[in-house]
């Protein structure tokens, strides 16, 4: 017997839950306080937006909504690491990433408010819209990366699945393709411990979810997904590697879904409250704020001012969303094909004729 291959998964954390550096030799981002402050502001904006979106749903002003509560470091870490020409293939709660890409809060509300126009967003035209069927977006990321590779463009595709999504064939097939063709993709796994009501331990027998990348031949790491310094360090490393033509990577980010799965879910039915209370101590904003305060670049006054600014921006977004016109009946026909087929044109005419009667 001899060992013909051996593997390991490394875990990275740079800021602990109190915002204290865990090692002496921190990544460069830890001393780039301007950038860290900016990231903190974006994460706070996402948090305040999210809270408002849930309130809008509870008061009947928004449809079912998937909260991003607790995932801010992952999402903002992803989005802020990308260039405009890169491609984002999100799942359905990555508002932090989408906002970094230029998608407006009002557009996110328009989407969950039941209007396709929300996906005709202000972010890059080559970015994918929110993807509801789990893990299917991973294929789109690998396919985009295939196009970049064939055209010899230094662009990178970034996609994300949850712990549940990592069980799906689409995720594994996308990883396999990325490994086989050495594609410029970054696969992020947001391991938030819960796939609706199914806990992580029932999702997979694998010790880590990152190790699924090893089977595809991809460098794979696990990071503290509540530590934006760790998320960004892993993202920057993976994106650089992909852009240099060295292939794909997998980053498993450990976090916790502090919210219900969506506003249609009630997580209290299936998970213990003490687990959630413990998870709140680890959430990503507390530690980043503490770190920035320790570094002397953040104060309570600034915090109050930031929260006011963010709330005001959210109010503007809500106003814009509420003023978005209801789509005309013809909208459901007019974007089905480049050229409306004759049979569909007949159905369109009929719909217009009978719309009010």
């Amino acid at each position: 017997m001899k060992t013909i291959a051996s593997f390991e998964i490394k875990y990275y954390q740079f800021l602990d839950e109190h915002g204290k550096p865990v090692i002496e030799n921190m990544p460069a981002l830890a001393s780039d306080l301007d950038q860290l402050t900016q990231l903190y502001k974006t994460m706070t904006q996402v948090r305040i937006f999210d809270d408002k979106a849930i309130k809008l749903q509870r008061t009947g002003k928004l449809g079912t909504y998937a909260s991003s509560l607790g995932h801010e470091a992952i999402h903002v870490g992803m989005g802020s690491a990308m260039k405009h020409e890169d491609v984002l293939a999100p799942m359905y709660r990555e508002y932090g990433a989408m906002m970094c890409r230029g998608v407006k809060m009002s557009e996110i509300l328009t989407y969950w408010g039941g209007n396709e126009e929300g996906s005709n967003f202000s972010g890059p035209a080559h970015d994918y819209p929110i993807c509801v069927p789990i893990a299917t977006q991973c294929m789109l990321a690998s396919g985009s990366a295939m196009a970049f590779k064939l055209r010899k463009q230094p662009r990178v595709a970034v996609t994300i699945v949850g712990d549940g999504g990592s069980s799906k064939g689409d995720f594994l097939e996308a990883l396999n393709a990325a490994g086989a063709w050495q594609l410029p993709v970054v696969f992020v796994i947001a391991n938030n411990q819960w796939a609706i009501s199914v806990p992580r331990k029932k999702q997979s027998g694998a010790q880590t979810l990152a190790q699924k990348g090893l089977a595809a031949g991809l460098p794979s790491v696990q990071v503290d997904g509540n530590d934006i310094v760790a998320v960004r360090w892993a993202m920057d490393t993976a994106i650089k590697r992909a852009r240099e033509g060295k292939g794909a990577s997998v980053i498993e980010c450990i976090t916790y879904r502090l919210s219900d799965h969506t506003t249609a879910d009630d997580a209290s039915r299936y998970r213990p409250t003490d687990e959630v209370e413990d998870a709140w101590k680890l959430e990503p904003l507390i530690r980043l704020k503490a770190y920035l305060k320790d570094q002397g670049v953040w104060s309570d006054d600034q915090q109050t001012e930031l929260e006011t600014e963010c709330a005001s921006a959210v109010e503007d977004a809500v106003t814009e969303y509420m003023n978005t016109p209801i789509p005309a009946i013809t909208e459901m026909f007019d974007h089905m094909y480049d050229e409306l087929p004759h049979d569909l044109a007949q159905q369109r005419a009929f719909a217009l004729e009978t719309e009010n009667g």
Partner: protein, 326 residues
């Protein structure tokens, strides 16, 4: 000008588009050095390189997904499902993404891809290789479904499918891949993707079919001529969108219609054609519309596959029934 088979016409169209459009790439299992299990891509990788004709890992959903990803970023992939029996894992990607990305982004994104698959029975193939499930795709809003039935139509329709800015499911009737040859000029001329082809003019009955069943249908039309019955034969060719105008016009003339397809009967594309005839052409009909189809059974293995598939005799019986009823 050369006489070529249907599968050679597929190959000719693929080569033409790769040569003329740098965005066109072929991908699928064994499409490269092997030239595809039916030789549809024979010699293309050698001629155009392995970055234009790409062998994929064996994962059908991935082939569809990769093609959609490439298409949304501006390329024009032509993906191959090796057999229709292996196309089903691709349906998730086709229905969730290919068919709807244009609509759900209000036209910001589009998916100019083609998914080719050989389909249908009659070649003594193993299990899962012989079904005709075109109706699954015809039911999906957002795609087009095209089925050629001759070398020249395969060439022109495939060119059009590749050039079309929306996803096209291009199903190739493998039983007639090499049945006969036809002169096809490699002139880059495409055919419309929303029109039936009238293969034969006639005045007494309209025979509506597509794919490999055009063979038995044309044979039936020959036999009917000898009986003094003049049959008009229509090759639907574009299953979606359906060109009902041509079919209705023909039925207005003949007053009778028999629809022939190899696929299972219930909710087959024939049912849609019959429904639209009932809606729009009832008063032109002298007799009820008849369907000659596969049965609502699992396609049998090859010892009795011919008994499943509509035969010339079954078509003739249906036509004679219709003639007697009117």
């Amino acid at each position: 000008m050369a006489e070529i088979t249907l599968v050679e016409a597929v190959s000719m169209a693929l080569a033409h588009e790769i040569a003329h459009d740098p965005d066109v790439v072929i991908l699928g299992e064994d499409v490269g050095i092997n030239g595809g299990v039916f030789r549809a891509t024979a010699g293309l990788q050698q001629r155009f390189g392995d970055d234009r004709v790409i062998d994929t890992p064996l994962a059908e959903a991935m082939i569809a997904g990769i093609a959609i990803g490439m298409a949304t970023q501006g390329m024009k992939p032509v993906a191959e499902a090796q057999f229709m029996g292996f196309i089903y894992p691709m349906i998730d990607q086709i229905i969730c993404h290919a068919a709807r990305l244009r609509n759900r982004t209000r036209g910001r994104m589009s998916v100019p891809m083609v998914l080719r698959a050989p389909y249908g029975g009659g070649i003594h193939a193993p299990e899962h290789h012989s079904e005709s499930t075109e109706a699954l795709f015809a039911h999906m809003p957002g795609v087009r479904v095209v089925i050629p039935s001759s070398p020249s139509r395969a060439y022109g329709l495939l060119l059009a499918a590749i050039r079309n800015p929306d996803p096209v499911i291009f199903l190739e009737p493998k039983r007639i891949y090499r049945l006969y040859k036809e002169e096809v000029t490699d002139d880059g001329e495409d055919l419309p993707l929303d029109m039936c082809f009238v293969l034969r003019d006639g005045g007494d009955v309209t025979l509506v079919t597509w794919g490999a069943m055009t063979k038995e249908t044309l044979e039936a039309a020959d036999a009917l001529t000898e009986q003094g019955i003049s049959a008009e034969v229509i090759d639907v060719a574009t299953i979606k969108p359906l060109d009902m105008d041509t079919i209705l016009e023909s039925v207005k003339k003949t007053g009778r219609c028999v629809i022939i397809h190899e696929a299972a009967r219930t909710c087959g594309v024939g049912a849609e054609i019959a429904a639209q005839l009932a809606e729009k052409g009832l008063y032109d009909l002298h007799a009820p519309v008849q369907r000659v189809t596969g049965y609502d059974t699992i396609m049998p293995l090859y010892k009795i596959e011919k008994k499943y598939m509509p035969s010339t005799a079954r078509i003739l019986k249906a036509v004679n029934d219709v003639m007697e009823m009117s």
